[in-house]
């Protein structure tokens, strides 16, 4: 998608330089390549959000495509009442919740590759870290959907409680309570030795 990011208008503005809101305007105006830039900009975040929910690369890949397709179809409905990131997360979380409602969580392979910097750790430390990460991810996929959404959005997507409330359509107090219970359930799932 590199080439499309460099597409310029007559006034010289590059698509890659536009913020999300102006990119959405460009999409609505039918400007070629504008939506490609949106996808390129947010694909990693969307993929990671989906992966946290479903725990497998294949499902996360499918879900990511679905999320962007929903975004494209909903372009006309986005009025800018919330930020684009919040709107995108709302679509992503809804797609993930729909998916996990009809599909059992998968158990992730322990030897899944990770992109953490491993140059300073020994092989045994690396194995331990990977096992711990896989256990945490597997435990997260067993949480009730709303608790899972809250935990993922807060801990990994780094959304504020207010943003999460907007994404999930609930109150800030409810989000904090969900987060509290999610952590409690996670502690129970992981067992005391993990803490």
């Amino acid at each position: 998608m590199g080439p499309v990011a460099g597409v310029t208008r007559d006034d010289g503005a590059s698509l890659g330089e536009l913020d999300d809101v102006r990119l959405l305007d460009a999409c609505r105006a039918g400007r070629p390549g504008a939506f490609d830039v949106i996808v390129e900009r947010h694909r990693r975040s969307v993929y990671q959000l989906c992966y946290r929910f479903v725990g497998s690369h294949e499902d996360a890949s499918d879900l990511s495509q679905e999320v962007f397709l929903r975004v494209y179809r909903g372009l006309g409905r986005f009025r800018g009442g919330s930020s684009f990131a919040t709107w995108l997360h709302r679509i992503g979380v809804n797609a993930c919740l729909n998916r996990v409602a009809v599909k059992k969580p998968l158990t992730e392979e322990l030897d899944a590759r990770q992109h953490a910097d491993t140059r300073t750790e020994s092989p045994s430390e690396r194995v331990l870290r990977q096992e711990r990460g896989a256990r945490v991810r597997a435990a997260i996929t067993q949480l009730p959907p709303k608790q899972r959404a809250t935990l993922v959005l807060r801990m990994y997507q780094e959304l504020s409680h207010e943003e999460i409330a907007e994404v999930l359509g609930s109150s800030v107090g409810a989000v904090k309570a969900n987060f509290f219970h999610a952590l409690g359930n996670l502690k129970r799932l992981l067992g005391d030795e993990a803490l």
């Binding site: 996808v39 992966y51 590759r113 309570a177 987060f179 502690k187």
Partner: protein, 212 residues
Amino acid sequence: MAHLTPARLVDLAEGTEPESAVPHLGECDACRRSLAELRATMTVVVGPGGRGDDAVPEPSPLFWDHLSARVRDRVAESAPGGTGWVESWLRPRVALPILATVAGVVIVAVVASRGPIVQTPIPSTPLPIGESAQLPSLPPLEPLGTADDPSLGLMADYGTALSWDDMREEMALPGRAGSTDEAVITLSAEERQELQRLLEEEMTQPSALGAS
């Protein structure tokens, strides 16, 4: 004594609210324990090194471009007036079953156009078994080559045109000394003609048809 609410404990665990502002913590072991467990679990979730410690496995470097390309394809399919409809029909997953169905229909139509299969009627009355069993009388066999069936005539023509020596050579028949094959092969032309006449005569006898 009222304990701290989950929301309040979350604020304390995240540092949004300082512990010093909550005197209850100094008096309540249960709330202190809850807060400590909350912090410990948060540390495990993000890992000691932060978010990167529990990172999502990184897909292949090519994956991101493939993802973008697939999104672009799906967007093009869903776009009004796009070529998505045609493209979706040309996909093997859709096209192959359709082609297989069409082929099946064509085969059935061709077979049906050749008309019904003629079956020999089976006598409705069971045939008697035993000494009194009597086969229905059959018409006498006509000499080979004069029957209605043109294929029999063709076979007869081939039979008369092909000599035993030619056949032997064509089929590479082995000639065993003293065998019937050898006797037939060594017959003279007159003897073969006589043998053929005798065989045809024998075949036209009612006994050759199995009638009693």
